[in-house]
């Protein structure tokens, strides 16, 4: 700080406290609602201190599911979300590290063409090709399968671009030395490139884990079968309409479960920095 200004300090803290309150309030209310009984929530205004139904609500959603709307147990939704949140980053890292290795370390016909082909996919988010992509998935028989949920999300221009940028910073001497020692390209890839890329991979993993876990539109199209619901879709399916008809205590418990895994991943990432 440059100078002492007590009034400005006061305003600064006031703004931050208000900001932090507005940011945290919905999360706090969600937690409180997940520990109340439905009757307590329905009594306007609902209590703002945690109630005594924590175990009851969470065990009901985890093992039995809600009674209105989707009746699938949330445990199976969490499993589907986990599969998606792991398969997307792992698949993405694998295919993009291979393709960027090819683009950076080889000279071959059509190299630039392929690079641009991967790159323009940035301009084609799922949202702009909903119907035809759905048709393609149906034609390939991939509806309601894990492959259908994850494969299309695996192709990523950003990951390829990130690896390419990183490979450009690997000193040429390393490749030269490897070649002089008689190592082929794949030996160089496994023994030099992969170990050096660990930090980039870890960063990508965290970001893509959150991305995979939080997917909405894609599973909404592909997973029509309740047993394939991810937890984010599950929450939406528990909301059946008119606000008094919903089992808000169970919806909020599910929301807490949906927020925890990406939240802990994200925060660990932040604290590392």
């Amino acid at each position: 700080m440059v100078e002492k200004r007590p009034l400005l300090d006061f305003i600064t803290h006031a703004v931050l406290i208000v900001g932090a309150f507005v940011i945290a309030f919905p999360l706090y209310v969600t937690f409180v609602a997940s520990t109340l009984s439905l009757d307590e929530i329905m009594s306007v205004p609902m209590p703002l201190l945690p109630g005594s139904h924590f175990v009851e609500n969470y065990s009901q959603v985890l093992f039995a599911g809600s009674t209105t709307g989707s009746q699938e147990a949330v445990l199976s939704m969490l499993l589907n979300s986990t599969v998606m949140a792991l398969a997307v980053p792992l698949g993405k890292i694998t295919i993009s590290i291979l393709s960027s290795f090819a683009i950076v370390y080889f000279r071959f016909p059509l190299r630039n063409f392929f690079f641009w082909m991967i790159f323009v996919t940035l301009m084609l988010p799922v949202e702009v090709r909903i119907i035809p992509t759905f048709k393609v998935m149906a034609d390939l028989g991939l509806l309601n399968t894990y492959a259908g949920l994850t494969l299309p999300l695996i192709a990523s221009a950003t990951a390829t671009f990130l690896f390419r940028q990183f490979f450009m910073t690997i000193p040429d001497e390393l490749a030269e030395a490897a070649r002089m020692d008689g190592a082929g390209p794949m030996r160089f890839f496994w023994d030099v490139v992969v170990p050096l890329s660990k930090t980039t991979m870890a960063a990508l993993f965290v970001i893509q884990f959150i991305y995979g876990w939080n997917q909405y539109l894609w599973p909404l199209l592909i997973a029509s079968d309740e047993s394939m619901y991810t937890v984010v879709i599950g929450i939406k399916r528990m909301i059946v309409g008119g606000d008094a008809a919903n089992e808000w205590n169970l919806i909020m418990a599910t929301a807490m479960l949906a927020m925890l895994p990406p939240g802990t991943r994200g925060n660990r990432k932040m604290s590392e920095q």
Binding site: T30, L98, F114, E127, V128, R129, I130, I131, I210
Partner: protein
């Protein structure tokens, strides 16, 4: 940028590229091509017959008052989400950069929503604002405001704006904070010695130096408001009441999936694609400019 040292192989690079290219072609180019193809076709509801109709789908789209209305809705929504999101997070980041005591707590709380899914953010705020049981609705009633977003279009719009901004603040906040921390302290100190107060320093030094970050965030936030807020809308208003919150992406989904109007929905997809390409071009121009700095 090219590598000096490369490996030689006639087939290996193609094998390495194959998985990514296969997925890209099957799930990106094929559907995108089909979107363009369908947009010139008129299909019956079962997809059994189709005929080539040229630009008919496009002309009927632009003659459709609902579609034009959806453009307006999208414009209002994305300007509000991007504008509010950037201003609020700039304010919070500037403040968080200033404090010493409690800085870590503030920062931790402010980045919480970063990992929350858009649909979940929508559900959280829909619960707070629920017409009969919501805690915020209750407080508003105390002030004499009758809140019911299920029947009031403006309030529904406000709800999805609040939920979308709330989710995006953390992302903007992190970028602004990083931008603020990269401003050399000597500049600020020199200005302070010359007698510039905190407000003057903010407007003449901090803000101009933050403008690249702000511009980057503007593009990111507009893209976010256009596409990623689908979850917020589908989990809360579903485009209603009476299409008051039906942004372009939601209309593509609604017309294609729920109303089974393949041609019309594909024509809308093509228009959206053009918008995305334009946005990406703007982003690239900006990235190039940044490289020249």
């Amino acid at each position: 940028m090219e590598k000096r040292v490369v490996f030689r192989s006639a087939w290996l690079p193609y094998v390495l590229l194959a998985p990514q290219l296969a997925i890209t072609v099957v799930f990106f180019f094929w559907p995108a091509g089909q979107a363009i193809w369908y947009s010139f076709q008129l299909q019956d509801a079962f997809g059994l017959q189709s005929e080539f109709v040229g630009f008919d789908n496009f002309t009927s789209l632009f003659a459709d008052p609902h579609y034009l209305e959806s453009f307006k809705t999208t414009a209002v929504f994305s300007v509000a989400v991007a504008g509010l999101g950037i201003m609020i997070s700039l304010l919070l980041a500037t403040m968080a950069d200033r404090v010493v005591r409690g800085a870590l707590i503030y920062k931790t709380v402010l980045i919480w929503p970063y990992a929350v899914a858009a649909a979940v953010a929508g559900v959280l705020w829909a619960f707070l604002f629920a017409p009969s049981i919501g805690i915020v609705t209750f407080v508003l009633k105390g002030f004499g405001i009758d809140w019911n977003w299920i029947i009031n279009g403006d309030q529904a719009m406000l709800l999805i704006i609040i939920a979308s901004v709330w989710k995006q603040i953390s992302y903007n906040f992190l970028f602004f904070l990083a931008g603020l921390q990269s401003i050399p302290k000597s500049l600020i100190e020199a200005a302070a010695i010359d007698g510039a107060g905190p407000a003057r320093r903010f407007w003449t030094i901090v803000l101009p130096l933050l403008s690249p970050t702000a511009f980057f965030l503007l593009v990111v936030n507009i893209v976010y408001a256009f596409f990623d807020t689908f979850g917020v809308i589908d989990a809360t208003t579903q485009g209603g009441p009476a299409q008051a919150t039906q942004i372009l992406v939601y209309k593509v989904y609604h017309d294609g999936v729920k109303a089974a109007d393949i041609g019309g929905s594909s024509a809308q997809s093509v228009i959206l694609m053009i918008i995305v390409i334009a946005l990406t071009a703007v982003q690239f121009k900006y990235i190039e400019r940044k490289v020249q700095y």
